[in-house]
């Protein structure tokens, strides 16, 4: 393969797929962060020592999250195809991939944020109770603001996990850089393409991690 062919490939195939990957990451991270946060708040609130202990609810959430997290991602994609069809109307393509990405991402983020939120000093929560703050205020005015830097660095970890998952989603028809690496690189024995996708992915990971670290330092 000569020089022009490679640059053609990069421009015509890899660049649009890079955009697909970025789109999947951004959309799934945003949705996962929202659902994950809701789950995490529900977990810490209903926990035995939480603000409003609800053993049954807590147990159900716990089982649900553990259940989702036990699926290998590639199996999860296939297993929830009916749900994906119901939501997006198709099981192939970038938007279809976002459904399993969000489901697994939410469970992952829920666990990370749960432990971030638990880190907040219980004495601080007691102090808030002592001046008559409501549970809602304790969560949104005390716990979340206090844990915010850790939440951001938790999301950074999740973004990179989601990036890994998008590559896997590529293998089953979602598009994105993963699909390029597998179909053009791996299946066509084209090492140039395979390794250049890997290099792009490495650069993406480094960028995401640096941004996360920067934000953490700024917020702390």
């Amino acid at each position: 393969m000569n020089q022009t062919e490679v640059s053609q490939l990069i421009l015509k195939i890899m660049f649009p797929e890079l955009l697909n990957t970025i789109y999947m990451i951004l959309a799934s991270t945003a949705l996962s962060a929202i659902f994950g946060m809701i789950l995490a708040i529900a977990l810490i609130t209903t926990a035995p020592k939480g603000l409003k202990p609800q053993a049954f609810v807590h147990r159900c959430l716990d089982i649900l999250i553990n259940g989702i997290r036990s699926f290998p991602f590639i199996i999860l994609i296939v297993a929830i195809i009916p749900i994906t069809r119901l939501i997006v109307g198709t099981s192939i393509g970038v938007n279809a991939a976002i459904v399993p990405l969000v489901i697994s991402g939410s469970a992952f983020i829920a666990r990370i944020m749960e432990s971030n939120l638990q880190e907040v000093d219980s004495a601080l929560i007691e102090a808030a109770q002592s001046f008559g703050a409501s549970n809602f205020q304790i969560i949104f005015k005390v716990i979340i603001p206090e844990a915010f830097p850790s939440l951001v660095s938790g999301v950074t970890i999740a973004v990179i996990a989601i990036l890994g998952n998008t590559a896997m989603a590529g293998a089953v028809g979602a598009g994105g850089l993963g699909a390029v690496a597998i179909s053009y690189g791996y299946a066509n024995f084209n090492n140039t393409i395979m390794y250049s996708t890997v290099v792009i992915l490495i650069i993406l990971v480094i960028l995401i991690q640096s941004l996360g670290n920067f934000l953490y330092k700024r917020l702390k």
Binding site: A123, L124, E126, A127, A128, S130, F131, G132, S134
Partner: protein, 324 residues
Amino acid sequence: MIEISDLKKSYKNKTVLKGINLSIEAGEIYGLIGRSGAGKSTLLRCINGLENYHEGSLSVNGVEVKQILGKDLRVFRKNMGMIFQHFSLMERKTVYQNIALPMACWGYSREEIDKRVKELIKIIDLEDKLYERPHSLSGGQKQRVAIARALSLDPDILLCDEITSALDPKTEQNILQLLRKINEELHKTIIIVTHQMSVVKEVCHKICILEQGEIRVNGNVENIFISQPDALRNLLGEEEVPLPKDGVNIRIIYTGDNVNDRVISDMCQKWNVGFSLIWGKTERYRDTFLGVTVINIDEENLPIVERYIGELNLRWEVLKNESN
């Protein structure tokens, strides 16, 4: 103001409070004293409903705390500021925001909050740190901020849980001075949980000593110091001084101005009574001095000493000697 009668609480099998009877008047600084695990912090948390109790009654201004629920409990807590051992400030917020937090939760307007925070920062004397974050403050400064936060809703009662235990002695004195100022100038009733005698001496009007969930002694600080009950000695970890077996041992208690009098040396010179000094100390309690001395004299001198000390109007007693 606060009436506690026969209050009982237990965790699983362990009884933490075994029938507490206590009454705290408005305007007092009341100390709940005891070693760790005596139940004093639990008792304090029962007062603002952070802990529940199983039996007995605890009423604040005539209202039974156990019966206050939900939103009412939050409103009830507005009237009680609480201060903690490790300050419990929000690390990511400025001093200003920390002090403003209770008011923000209760929906005060921006102007009201601003006015109040600036008033409070003057009381705690930290005007130059208003926009700093807690990590750049010293322990004493953090506790001042916590005090300002506790005062922000203008409560009648301040609950203090070991608030000087994490501070060095000098800073502790400053914080205690501030508490006294708050008591005297803002007329707040203050309830202090502590294991430090220094706190009792500096600020408390009345105390009760708790041991294993029971009140051993309670009352006026001076009286307790004068009568030196076992519970006090236990708390201080003082060993009982072995008394000489021969002669008579006398404990003399000085209060206020008597501390400076040359009571015993005058006794020697005027009446020619010899003595040996067994034990003694002088301490300051709030603004008065209290001294205790134990001396040993010959038995035949007892009537002289009795008359002499009696004339001076000092409190004194003959200590029982076990061998006699």
